[in-house]
Amino acid sequence: MADEVILLDFWPSMFGMRTRIALEEKNVKFDYREQDLWNKSPILLEMNPVHKKIPVLIHNGKPVCESLIQVEYIDEVWPSKNPLLPSDPYQRAQAKFWGDFIDKKVYASARLIWGAKGEEQEAGKKEFIEILKTLESELGDKIYFGGETFGYVDIALIGFYSWFEAYDKFGNFSIEAECPKLIAWAKRCVERESVAKSLPDSNKIVEFVPVLKKHIGIE
């Protein structure tokens, strides 16, 4: 019986991008279904009744929610191609720690860059750069966060890169000037087919930000 894989997603979502990348890395065919977050579909509400959020991965009719949980699930269901998590328990724990760090910190500070003004925005920019510098320091001189192979932590972070041009523009600063090594890492990741296929054009995100602000009711 062939696997049926559906992904309920929203094209600018850096969280949805994680799941897209993981599925592409494993060469899994999936049905991508664009969602309207301001008019949520019955299937979204049925498959993620607790949070009503995307992405939702539906595998043979059963939903898996939360992007990093989906990435791990995909790695466990399709283990033979391109392992996304290391096999060593200590290294796995480190990978999950950084995935958790990215989840807890990056989005919240980034939101202030495009969503806030004045002092609040400046504070967001400062915190965002500090967080990126912590990640840059963790990356060190490695090719990817996991070392030689592209994996979980790279997947957790790379989606945000599609938003960097927007952050630069709306924050009136240059992320590359502050974190050149991280930008170099991002450019390496984007060379991978799975990532190139899964990230939207940065200029589309730049165009999207004012639309998003209008939707959530901020100037």
Binding site: C65, V77, Y90, K96, F101
Partner: protein
């Protein structure tokens, strides 16, 4: 792999610290418990968890593992041949366990904390409603995950049991302070039975804080400064 000294930096009152302690007990792994003094952070803690500076931190042969749920998984994987598995074997069931553990930390526990902070009738009503909604979800999750067995993880305590069970002492303290039954047999009968089983498990009993002692501690740390 499983060799090397095990130390846990933590504190007796922390529900997050309780999680790896239960896991280590379930795997029969001896460890040295390094207690932090409330209100200050040791050099070892700051060195071992420079990013968050928080407990618990597991030190295995001096290598640190941080974040309670991540530590529990690490313990399960490292001492996999000792004791039952803490996570289900099927990927879908594992994803469910992780989903509910995330929900418990991000939503359920926040609602529990808000109970003590709520002031005035309106706010209290809202907090109660939010908490009960969460409980109803967990009651259903328990029925789905346990499949008729005593624990979320089946016959034995596992990752999700530990994630929720670690909050039971604080739940009891909150019930006393708020004079309100937070885990009600009438509303969530399965969860109540589960709580009983969890608290009586030999791996849990020695590390579950006593309600009275915890209530004393809570009074101290939440004490409003004198005007």
């Amino acid at each position: 792999m499983a060799s090397g000294e095990v130390k846990l930096i933590g504190a007796w009152a922390s529900p997050f610290v309780m999680r790896p302690r239960v896991a280590l007990n379930l795997k029969s792994v001896p460890y040295e418990f390094l207690q932090e003094t409330f209100g200050s952070k040791s050099e070892l803690l700051l060195k071992s968890n420079p990013v968050h500076k928080k407990i618990p931190v597991l030190l295995h042969a001096d290598k640190p593992v941080c974040e309670s749920n991540i530590i529990v998984e690490y313990i399960d994987e490292t001492w996999s041949s000792s004791g039952p598995s803490l996570l289900p074997s099927l990927p879908y069931d594992r994803a469910m366990a992780r989903f509910w553990a995330a929900y418990i930390d991000e939503k359920w526990f926040v609602a529990l904390r808000n109970f003590l902070k709520a002031e005035g009738e309106e706010e209290k009503k809202a907090v109660i409603a939010e908490f009960e909604e969460g409980n109803a979800l967990l009651e259903k999750a328990f029925i789905d995950c346990s499949k008729g067995k005593p624990f979320f993880n089946g016959d034995h305590i596992g990752y999700l049991d530990i994630s929720l069970g670690s909050f039971l002492a604080w739940l009891r303290v909150t019930e006393l302070a708020a004079s309100y039954k937070l885990l009600d047999e009438a509303k969530t009968p399965s969860l109540c039975k589960w709580a009983d089983h969890f608290c009586n498990d030999p791996a849990v009993k020695p590390v579950m804080p006593e309600t009275a002692k915890l209530a004393e501690f809570a009074k101290k740390i939440f004490a409003k400064p004198q005007a």
